[in-house]
Symmetry: none
DNA sequence: AATGAATGAGGATTCATTCAT
DNA sequence: GATGAATGAATCCTCATTCAT
């Protein structure tokens, strides 16, 4: 009768792990908790070793649950990536609004936004380490990433800066460029240079500030169309 | 491309060599040619599918030679990455010096350098697609990348801008920041936004220019003759 | 640089297998030989343990070659089944024609064909053990099996029996039925009863003969000389 | 060949129980009902996809109850097979006796038994689809199958035919062979050909009849030991 | 030297079984 | 008792690497 290949299966596992660290009441029913544990474990491992070099076994071990759950919950290893995105997005919500009180002047507001962006990108480096290689491989992922990253952030930043009267003195194009520059500076000096090119973080942060300073210098507060902006427009055409 | 026909083909070729035609250079040309073919094939495939998803078989097929050569010449798949780097560096040499004639003013020089950087990063996107994920995984690779990328470029750009007297009016820190900004803008608007986030390239290029323009505006000149700089300096004080 | 997950790979295997049985000059280039070894190993294992319970590792081990070859040569485990079919068909060729000399009378010919069929099915039991479960699962396979099995055999048997004048005395339907009965008896008493239901083979063979005898008894002959046929015909009317 | 794990999914079973039947025996009815539902679901699924390709989850879903019950009631997936057998046997009981009224002559009785066997095998095809592959793998199963199938049937058929005086004119061996031939013909033309080899069922049934007709032709009713049978015995020895 | 057939370690995934609820 | 979430052993397959030709 026997198919001979029948699973013989586990026979009582010692309740205590070898390092005695995780008591883990083997077999608990905590779907949400395990999902999150898997996501966090995946994020950490993908970020440090790369997606391909990370095995599902490692993820499960690191999350303290069974390998099979990755497949049950996320439809396999690949499903962890979208889940990672969603998780990140859900965390991001209103980060900016809550943490940064408005500044009195346009320049101050801009500078503190840049500062926040640089810090934020650094703090988000694990996610970026995972997301960027994915975006490089998958055009669709790139577009989604843009939606939830730069675009969403640009909206928030734009809203913060719009309130100042200087913003009316800027051509729309210039205003947009300034808004974008916040993310650009944040990404380059908060992530690329310190996290990818392994440059000194303090120096990067400082350089970000110097550049930001130059960018918001001399914004006229009255003249709605600045002659220099004009000139630039002409040159470009 | 196909391998099956190779044997007969090879024999035919060697037959031609019999009539006294530099049999020595033949060897080297073949070897060097195949190495290059492998590197180019690897670059293209790594860039489009990613390093891990590319098989050595594909690379060999695309290069039109045997899989074993990857191991003989580069010590395995992993060895293609440093080879790729070296190859790219050898191509990069003096690109800037040769292609960009000096501009008359600081501002023009800066703007044309930014313009060149944006274009250059876009043209180099295949290499970047391969290099960045590697740099994310391997700290050593990140540092090497920085040496041959931003650092080398910064030296060249710094040399170009140093000649103008405006550079003396800038604090060293500010001068450095401006130099770095060329690469930063080039990378973000020439590569990240169009190639990774799939944003419109023309719009990106334009925004790069707007930002660059703002950055070099109102550089205080040591020369009092320069009216605009003057004016700016006054306004600032 | 290392992807850490790189294959570390074999490091010298002892030239002598544990049981010292197969010296096997590790790594030989014998495509045809290995293909056949794999097919034979698969046939044996599928027949004894069933398709699903047989692992590709077992097959490779039994064939004395690498697991990967199953995938290279047959596109995976599933591909072994069609290969098995083809192999069997190529062996079957003209078995009947070569091995069975024609008999003098219709009855003798029929009986010796039945005898051959019973023996043949028994000898072919390994293949049938594999093929029948497949035909039960896959309608397409069932039809192909019919082509290469009963249909082909029926043609050969029909040709053998047609030569006798008794065949003209039989309605076409009856002739066909007799032809089919050869395979039917062969299958049931050569395979099903001894190999599946584990009944005594000698008894099965004997019963096959008794039944066959009854089936060809009293075939009306067009030739009035045949006394027994005559008598039978009279009795029947 | 693919297992094609399609989502079959439950569609609310046991809606029938709603028509107010003995609410007291609820417990027992539920248990017995679920056992039967599981057996029927397993039979259907095993028959259509094969034992191995059917998952316990599918069975439970199709039966409308929990996966765990398969283990509680049947000791796992493998336990469903014997349960299937028992269930089938309990259904089979006296099928023959009840449904087939006795015929007036030996020939008629034989022919109607053959006819019944052909029909019966076809109706029982789901069970046979499951049982035969099992018998091929497991010798013990083959023997049990023979007990509950051919052997039991042979007894009933033998009893039916024994009553006619022709049966005394036949050698025991011949009588046995005729009895067996009923099952043989039934199996081949009621199951193998239409259900496995996918041949036309009507044509198969007709051919069964033609063969059966030939087999019962000219049974002498007086002579206790037929000379031809004698001859056969000699030939075989 | 070059080739590509052969190798086999390693990984994602499936699914019978267990057991907390 | 019943349920189905959780478990992890076992398997097919891929593909970098080796090495006979």
């Amino acid at each position: 009768m026997k198919s001979s290949k029948q699973n013989s299966h586990r026979q009582a596992v010692s309740a205590v792990n070898l390092n005695g660290q995780k008591p883990r009441s083997r077999r608990t029913r905590d779907r949400a908790g395990k999902k999150q544990a898997l996501i966090l474990a995946a994020l950490k491992l993908f970020a440090s070793k790369g997606y391909d070099a990370t095995t599902t076994r490692e993820i499960a071990a690191s999350a303290g649950c069974a390998e099979g759950l990755i497949h049950r919950y996320f439809n396999g290893k690949a499903g962890l990536l979208p889940a990672l995105m969603e998780y990140r997005v859900s965390q991001e919500v209103a980060d900016l609004a809550h943490h940064i009180p408005p500044a009195p002047t346009f320049e101050d507001e801009y500078l503190q936004l840049v500062n926040w962006a640089v810090k934020h990108m650094w703090e988000d480096r694990e996610f970026l380490r995972v997301a960027i290689p994915r975006a490089l491989l998958d055009p669709g992922f790139g577009q989604v990433l843009r939606q939830v990253g730069p675009l969403q952030r640009a909206r928030a930043i734009g809203a913060r800066l719009k309130k100042f009267r200087e913003s009316q003195a800027l051509a729309e194009e210039e205003f947009d460029a300034l808004v974008q520059s916040v993310s650009v500076i944040g990404f380059m000096f908060g992530f690329m240079r310190p996290a990818v090119l392994r440059q000194d973080r303090k120096a990067s942060t400082r350089m970000a500030f110097v550049i930001a300073k130059r960018l918001v210098r001399n914004i006229p507060s009255v003249d709605p169309v600045h002659p220099t902006a004009r000139q630039a427009a002409l040159l470009l055409s």
